[in-house]
Amino acid sequence: MEFKETYIGRIFYGMRSLLIGLHTTLKEFFTKKVTEQYPENRKTQHISERHRAMLYMPLDENGNNKCIACGLCANTCPNGTIVIKTKTVTDEETGKSKKVLVDYTYDLGSCMYCQLCVNVCPKEAIAFNNHFENAVFDRSKLFIKLNK
């Protein structure tokens, strides 16, 4: 029989494993605490970039977006959160007609943050940002027009 399995051996091995456990929690006792005290830490709080808080449309300095009004995002949305209004414009030089975005409405209240719209977009025209403080007193304020 090995020493580990004897009566005396079990006492010593048991004590050793208990001390390892105590050592682990003691280290934890003195490490920096992870609690975030939210309203007070607004300036220092860190939110993961991948956090999906609100859909937005990245705009360049002139206020132009990359949207080609294809409607894939509106079609793929399970909740019908996105409503797109378009118009057809004929190019005067080439004579070809082209769809142009008029109104991109996003209903924050029915969005379930699945990110399907962002994944399906061929031009990366929409994305999620970190602005999570979205509480309002009126539902109508949750309908947001994303394009300028």
Binding site: L18, L22, T25, E28, T31, K33, V34, T35, Q37
Partner: protein
Amino acid sequence: MFDFSTITTAIDQFLHSVLPSQAALLVECILVALCAVLAYVMLAIVMIFMERKVCAAFQCRLGPMRVGPWGLLQVFADVFKMLIKEIISIKNSDKVLYNLAPYLVVMSSVLTFSCLPFAKGLQVLDFNIGVFFIMAASSFGVLGILLAGWSSNNKYSMIGAVRSGAQMISYELSIGLCILSIVALSGTMQISELVAAQADGWFIFRGHIPAFVAFIIYLIAGNAETNRAPFDLPEAESELTAGFHTEYSGMHFGFFYVAEFMNLFIVAGIASTLFLGGWTPLHISGFDSFNTIMDYIPGVVWFLGKTFFVIWLLMWVRWTFPRLRIDQVVSLEWKYLVPIGLLNLLIMTLCVVMGWTF
């Protein structure tokens, strides 16, 4: 060291000068009871706050921070909530025993509490078999728990109470053996003399190896005695909802809760009295200037400091280890702690007889 008995004898003489001796005794009893219960409750509040903060720190959290600065008022809010809650009476329960049980638990805990020496002369009960009295008084808390489980008319309460009976009665043996080995070392059972004997060296240093082993066994058994994790079988949440106090609400539950915390304080207080010198300051022979500086720190601070250190040790254990199974609890006691305790008592006696102590 400042002797508190000068104050108490002054009050005693004043009362006897203005009142007949019977009335003076009555007034003194009321005053002492008031002070003891007040200290009991205040310490319980401090302990609950400490428990929440220490638990949080071990889990890498901050704990209560919202109510008052650093959450200092959180416990007061909890106590107030507990006080205004309804005490529900259970159908088909044994009404008398059901209402009596929490008071038995609190009574045993207050009785034991009044034996603790807070400073020189600051002790409610002090007589020649003080250690025996502590053991006897702390033992009948288990009666309250058994009655609570029995009278609730609930299977979970009953199982919890039976487990608690098995556990607390077993572990009392280890506590007794540890206390006995210290009594063998000191040769007295009176608490004030036990503390005074440690003025030039705490028993954990003077009794070296057997005293240290007794200290460790005492901490393990004391943790089991207070029904705290890893020995919290009587109230195993996952199996028994809340064990023996499942059916209690309001302040009746509050009594169990407070008594549990104060039992922890009492176990730590007795540990610091028996092993760490109670209210006696730390003296190192040879360093006279160091010793005089240590003497300036009042005895209450020493006692509470040591006690809260031991409480911290017990909380450390509590928030580290998972719960034991009932057969493991019992086998730990009967197969390991009792034989080691008996052997330790033998070694301690041998050390004392041969004069191998400091």
